[in-house]
Amino acid sequence: MSANKKVQCQLCPTECILAEYQVGDCRVRINKGGELYSLVYGKPCAVHIDPIEKKPFSHILPATTAFSIATVGCTLSCKFCQNWQISQAKPENERFYNLPPERVVAEALRSGCRSIAYTYTEPTVFYEYMYDTSVLALEKGLLNTYITCGYISQKPLKELAKVLHGANVDLKGFTEDYYKRICGGKLKPVLDSLVTLKEYGVWVEVTNLIVPTLNDNTKEITEMCKWLVKNLGPDTPIHFSRFHPDYKLKNLPKTPLNTLTRARDIAQDAGLRYVYVGNIGHEGNNTYCYSCSELLIERQGYYVMQNHVVGGKCKFCGVNIAGVWDGV
């Protein structure tokens, strides 16, 4: 019976201990007969072709498209989640496509995408599917990008990092209390993930959703930006994203524009060279040269209007602009 057939999942820091037929907190991993199984391998619930700017990535192959997939499930339970209908759903209750890794890669190539994005929900929960797809994509010259909350254990992350090119890590706040109360997780493993991705040579961009009254204070944003400069370096792009009332936080207003502008100023003062504002039309959607301040990449929404990064350098002053500009 179940008592002697328990397993402990070691994919994320939650480390669920599961009796037989029990499903993890992520809702997509089940213990059957004393073995752990994924319920969502090759079963994405969302498949789209998106501009890579939507992920968001501002320093990976601008104006290209990313073949984007997600299954249901998440390792966290953020009260502000904007994709909660799928991230907090159970796979048995959602429609899905049958799309094994080889078909994902074939479809990405057929549709002219330069990359595959594991995104929308938390791709860590479909780790095996993502990893196998990434290996095939790498063989075919596609880039692999991981849009994640970073709530993953070190061992699986280090294996995955070897087949990744880019990661956008959602750093949701900068206090353990915020992660515990609002996200149902812990901050420390996310910071560890950021450092590991950087160490493994994965191009890292960071997104911070600013939620009014919860994580919008100057002290927290300042500490976060200083940590990023110190641990990941000044070339790490950060995207301050506008909050929209959703899921369990419908009582809060949208993030005011001046809060986003203040965050951008704080980040630039802390030494970050590429600071973006997202989910709203703003000059902070563009890329500027940190050296000569010229406009390098102009964006309207998710679309690139002009691009003056040539061979990874500023066309005007010739300084290197960090990023992945040429593919694999």
Partner: protein, 75 residues
């Protein structure tokens, strides 16, 4: 020579022995009860989870794909 034991002392001694015996019986009984109900509860939870799996997950045609990164406990 027979040891002199006042009657009142003998009564107190007997009461103490009875009290200790009763306490031991209650503790053992409680442990047996907890163990039985826990085992029953575990069995019921197992049956409930198995029923959910068979009635909800199997019909959804979700294949079981072997997961990586886990350990077995007590197997």
């Amino acid at each position: 020579m027979e040891k002199h034991t006042p009657k009142r002392d003998r009564v107190i001694l007997n009461l103490m022995i009875i009290s200790v015996t009763l306490a031991v019986i209650v503790i053992i009984g409680n442990n047996i009860h907890t163990s039985l109900t826990s085992s029953l509860s575990e069995r019921q939870n197992f049956e409930r989870r198995k029923k959910y799996y068979e009635e909800k997950i199997v019909p959804a045609n979700l294949d079981l794909y072997p997961a990586r990164h886990y350990i077995k406990i007590g197997q």
